[in-house]
């Protein structure tokens, strides 16, 4: 059923518009949002792999050159897209479920932003058109700003505004890079552009082509929150509602891999591309984890850790082999799930204590054992402790960098994992194990059951992916084989 491919974008997009239009009908909005949210992870599971040409414009063969051109906006749906869209869909469902059960009167505009963001990242990972990707990248940036601004946390407006201002630098720069590519190739279809580059129709060493890489790369840094945008990225995570932050980080990961795959297909013939990706990924890992170690606000700490984990994804892509890219994409899937679990879990702690400073917390384990244990396992998964999913992807990355002849990167990756473990153990001890401060009231404050349910679902996926990584990695490896 290839007809379902565009529906993966159209369903959340239409749901966003309808919910926004009929948000005054509270009960109808709640039921409609819930039903659509259930459909989101199911559509990619039911759909067949294949291509969808918008408007029905099939590829055309140029009889003179023998080159196939793609006039239509094309969506490509393979195993990677299926697994990523399914993960984001499931996370959207869990986040909307938490939101609907938390508030009696729901906000239509907030639900609009959640669905809009999901539609945007889905389109970004599906599309084979670089301009189409940019349009949804912009929509996603606006949705992210809205989700942060709509939260009830202090200074969320300010942080959202800063993100928007920085976006006003990152996005036009990326558009300029896309413009240069269009000027060089006469096409915005990624397959056509890649073909033109790899067959030598374009001089890959021309300064304009190199400049387009620099500009698109800068936009990618903004989208993925790699340095110099790591501070603002961790900032917006900490100023969003915890369930919103869980979704925001998944948006970041998906937009990161969507853009980097497109860049890889176009620029992989340039060695400088891989050097740049590895350089900024290492920088993100070092800065993210070092800054996480010094945080006393645990939401900010998770934000910095999430940025550091993005470095692992970039590292896998930057090394450029089938095995390393597979490891990087597997790490991306793991990060979506693990970081979401941590954001929701720490959100449950905020709900129970109304406190974000680790120095003012303590003894939570005795009051909320379920949340504490699930958070512990989530933290261990992020640090790469076996047999959880994070361990599998990080082990693959260490093996990949060793086999590429970069033992320093392997050591660095292990060090970052150890430092992540230290961050988590320090925070866990401070919040859950040390004696409860006298002025902290934990009696009778329950954690919403929906949050515990969401954490449970995510935890099962983490354990299953840790025990059976081949279920995912073999499919991802086939996808990577196709783009190499």
């Amino acid at each position: 059923m290839n007809e379902l491919i565009p529906l993966m974008v159209i369903v959340p997009l239409m749901a966003a518009l309808l919910i926004s239009a009929f948000s005054k009908l509270n009960k109808v909005t709640k039921i409609f949002a819930f039903v659509v949210a259930i459909c989101l992870p199911l559509i990619p599971l039911l759909s067949n792999y294949g291509l969808h040409y918008f408007g029905g414009y099939e590829p055309m063969l140029d009889n003179v050159t023998g080159i196939m051109y793609h006039p239509a906006i094309t969506y490509s749906f393979t195993f990677l897209q299926q697994i990523i869209i399914c993960a984001v869909g499931l996370l959207t469902f869990l986040v909307i479920f938490i939101y609907l059960t938390k508030y009696k009167k729901v906000s239509g505009p907030y639900l609009f932003l959640l669905f809009l963001g999901t539609a945007a990242v889905t389109a970004m990972i599906l599309t084979d058109d670089i301009f189409h990707m940019f349009v949804f990248f912009e929509i996603l940036a606006l949705a992210q700003v809205g989700i942060v601004a709509a939260s009830s946390i202090d200074f969320s407006y300010e942080m959202a505004l800063k993100y928007m201002i920085l976006g006003s630098i990152g996005s036009p720069i990326m558009l300029l890079g896309i413009g240069f590519l269009l000027a060089l190739t006469g096409s915005v279809n990624v397959t056509d552009i890649a073909l033109a580059v790899h067959t030598g129709l374009i001089d890959a060493t021309s300064p304009v082509f190199l400049l387009s890489l620099a500009l698109i790369f800068f936009g990618w840094l903004y989208a993925s929150g790699l340095p110099p945008f790591h501070t603002i990225k961790s900032g917006i995570y900490s100023k969003a509602e915890p369930h919103g932050a869980a979704l925001l980080q998944s948006f970041t990961v998906v937009s990161m891999i969507s853009i980097v795959i497109i860049m890889f297909r176009i620029y992989s013939s340039l060695p400088i591309f891989e050097v740049l990706v590895v350089f900024f990924s290492i920088l993100a890992m070092i800065l993210g984890v070092s800054l996480a170690l010094t945080q006393t606000d645990f939401r900010r700490m998770i934000g910095f850790l999430a940025v550091g984990e993005l470095g692992f994804i970039g590292l896998g892509i930057g090394l450029g082999t089938n095995f390393s890219i597979t490891a990087g994409l597997f790490q991306a899937l793991n990060e979506i799930i693990i970081t979401a679990l941590l954001f929701i879990g720490f959100g449950a702690v905020v709900h129970a204590t109304n406190e974000v400073d680790t120095r003012k917390l303590g003894g939570i384990l005795a009051y909320h054992p379920k949340v504490s244990i699930m958070l512990l396992i989530g933290g261990l998964a992020m640090a790469g402790v076996p047999p959880l999913s994070g361990f599998q992807s990080k082990l693959m990355l260490v093996q990949a960098s060793l086999s590429c002849g970069f033992p320093e990167i392997s050591i660095l990756a292990i060090m970052v994992s150890i430092a992540t473990f230290v961050v988590f153990v320090k925070t866990y001890y401070t919040m859950f194990l040390k004696p409860k401060p006298n002025d902290l009231d934990l009696e009778g404050k329950e954690v919403p059951k929906s949050m515990v349910f969401a954490m449970g679902v995510l935890l099962i996926i983490i354990i299953l992916l840790g025990i059976f990584p081949d279920v995912v990695t073999s499919g991802i490896s086939n996808f990577v084989g196709g783009i190499l």
């Binding site: 800063k162 630098i169 500009l215 790369f217 320093e408 990167i409």
Partner: protein, 111 residues
């Protein structure tokens, strides 16, 4: 003894890092870990230059190690540069953009 005094002074300087509010053992040990992690990881990254030139890698690694160790504590300085100030964020964003464009336009073929 000078290096020992310097390290001891680092711990005292961490107090400012966590103000306002109390400084706990966990916070100080976390910051010392961050300090050591930062130095070791940057030195380790500098060794990657051996893929360009072994002599250059040795020289840069030595310089980076000496610079970093003689400038401890690094984390307070790092943290000040990476606070939520819009001016600093824009400064670093524009700086990276300028370096990227300059390097790619004139030096992208050198790698």
């Amino acid at each position: 003894m000078k290096l020992y005094d310097q390290i001891f002074d680092v711990v005292k300087q961490f107090r400012k890092l966590f103000s306002p509010g109390p400084v706990t053992n966990a916070d100080v040990s976390g910051s010392i870990t961050a300090e050591i992690f930062l130095i070791v990881s940057l030195v380790l990254s500098a060794i990657l230059l051996r893929h360009v030139n072994v002599l250059l890698a040795g020289l840069v690694t030595l310089i980076v190690a000496i610079l970093l160790i003689s400038n401890i504590p690094l984390i307070p300085k790092f943290k000040i540069e990476q606070e939520d100030s819009l001016e600093k964020m824009i400064f670093y964003a524009v700086l990276v953009l300028a370096l990227l464009v300059t390097f790619m336009y004139w030096g992208g073929n050198l790698v």
